[in-house]
Subunit: 345 residues, 2 copies
């Protein structure tokens, strides 16, 4: 359903300030707000002594999503989820969000309310307050969220990995990319619904790994969330940490639905995992003597799968992908642009 | 000069991460940054016990500006200035900024560097750090800045005005609107350069009233910055404070260049001041017994003009504009849309 398909009240009938008043209820779901929506700036407090984390992610219609395969609820939810994922990747706790939104003239009030419903539901789940933002008219839909979080003394940078540290990921990779390919190609009917459903969910309703990230604060030596694809994120961690790495191809977790969709689409599942992106899983490094214990703790406390997929090496060994045969090849950062240019392997 | 007119290195030649590396120098100009650009989130500290202020403003090409009458330096500078103005209106001190930027394919690296040069120069002047953001490809230029500031115990909301409080503004009003009309109509040559120059500067290089705002913390009972036009902002303050107001038409400060341009354009100067917007001056209320003294202090400490333009009244008296004749009329919020629909008075 497109934005134009939502009928009812038009934004111009109630104006910017009328719209904001309709969106305001349910925005405050955590503490620390002295003044929320309705002033020149939000006024916030943080836990005394906490470090403040700040991140933003802009989603632009036609580049990051199309309205034809996202409901507004999913869009609002995802715009927040991708920002919470950045806070998770620092080992922090999200606290407040500001919402900059550019709205095309053909969107009705109900469509915008649905965007906010998606945001506010996830915000409530994560005890995050919507404290302000900017609402402007724009020729296309733009969602730019700015999330503030906090870390208690210990946060996890990208830069702390040491040679010998093991590399781990949460969950499974490649499902979001497989889902996106099906959505873009409008090939939903090319695969059975029990395959398509989890892949669509992975792309449209990613789960930020907040509990996992916080458990890893003080444990992981480096961490990043997988937004651009595993290959690209390994390069980021290694680049910032000044190390090399080897990834074991057979250890990279890829789910059954992703493998099945890849087969039906004539793609290599491993390419989806390495270069697909938008998984919003956590990639992190742990000292080898702590890796098994920490992975077990994570699984037990969160129910999330955790896989050891490789290890850090001295920088001069570069970044490589090894196969069970013993063969290994240099791993290019690739990322989503590369992925688009490729057709399987 | 349009974006396409800037030649040299293309963004795609160096990629997103190459671009970010070029923009990074000179970003940190104040303290409190544990980790800036280059991780999943910025890691920041604030003064112990300070309240944190958070605001954002999105500028979209074609809605808020056109590239033909802004240099990229001016655009970057203004995108930050309008956010600093929101911090000023709370009586706060800006500390950190995150920059979300959507970049069309026809922009060269040099153009983007100029946007950042404008931002970084103003940031350095205000001791603000550029600590992160998001850089995406977009079909049109989008600048969305998130500014974090702090207030020391006392901040100035919109909601504290009392009946009897006097209403004051800094600087002069209407110049930005007069400048915009000349720029949009490409009538720069219709007025003498000594008239056009200050009006263009008011529109393209607004000065956030940071020192003035901070002096007013603990003094002003309510404050707002004038982004949508004086009439609209008076309605915001009165609405949030639950009061009415009367503005004295003859007291509203309008400069010589604005009056002259209005005459040449066949506009009423007062309409430019009331409904023009983008002045980024401060509108604030003071208890009557403190008003003259505080206004004098402001003038002396900052060199900025300060005018008493009216007073707050009980809510039931509504919001009115009075003339020296004794006549008074209800003042509609108007604002920029209204302004566009009108042709003088």
């Amino acid at each position: 359903m497109t934005g134009a398909g939502w009928t009812g009240l038009e934004i111009e009938e109630i104006g910017e300030f009328g719209l904001i008043e309709r969106l305001r209820p349910g925005c405050l779901r955590g503490g620390g707000v002295v003044r929320g929506i309705g002033d020149d700036a939000a006024v916030l407090t943080f836990t005394p002594g906490a470090l403040v984390l700040a991140t933003c992610d802009m989603l632009v219609e036609g580049r990051h999503f199309h309205r034809r395969y996202f409901t507004p609820y999913q869009l609002g939810r995802k715009a927040l989820a991708v920002n919470l994922s950045d806070i998770a990747a620092m080992g922090g706790r999200p606290r407040h969000v500001l919402v900059s939104i550019g709205l095309p003239a053909d969107l009705g009030v109900e469509y915008v309310e649905e965007i906010y419903r998606g945001m506010k539901e996830l915000a409530a789940k994560a005890a995050v307050n919507v404290v302000g933002g900017d609402t402007v008219s724009a020729p296309l839909l733009i969602l730019d969220l700015f999330v503030l979080g906090e870390a208690y003394g210990r946060y996890v940078p990208r830069s702390g990995a040491q040679p010998g540290d093991l590399l781990l990921v949460t969950g499974e990779l490649g499902a979001s990319a497989a889902g996106l390919i099906l959505l873009l190609a409008e090939k939903a009917n090319a695969v059975p619904p029990e395959i398509a459903r989890p892949l669509f969910a992975a792309h449209r309703e990613p789960q930020p790994r907040l509990a996992e990230g916080r458990l890893l604060a003080g444990e992981a030596t480096a961490m990043i969330d997988i937004s651009d694809g595993l290959a690209s994120e390994v390069h980021h961690i290694c680049g910032e940490s000044g190390v090399g790495a080897v990834l074991r191809a057979e250890k990279i977790p890829i789910g059954r639905a992703t493998r099945e969709a890849a087969r039906l689409l004539g793609r290599a599942p491993l390419d989806l995992a390495l270069y697909g992106g938008e998984d919003y899983e956590l990639l992190f490094s742990l000292p080898p003597e702590r890796a098994e214990e920490t992975a077990s703790l994570l699984r037990r406390k969160t129910g999330t799968a955790v896989s050891i997929i490789g290890e850090c090496r001295p920088r001069e060994e570069c970044i490589r992908l090894s196969y069970p045969s013993g063969e290994s090849v240099p791993l290019s950062p690739g990322g989503f642009d590369h992925f688009r240019a490729e057709e399987g392997d």
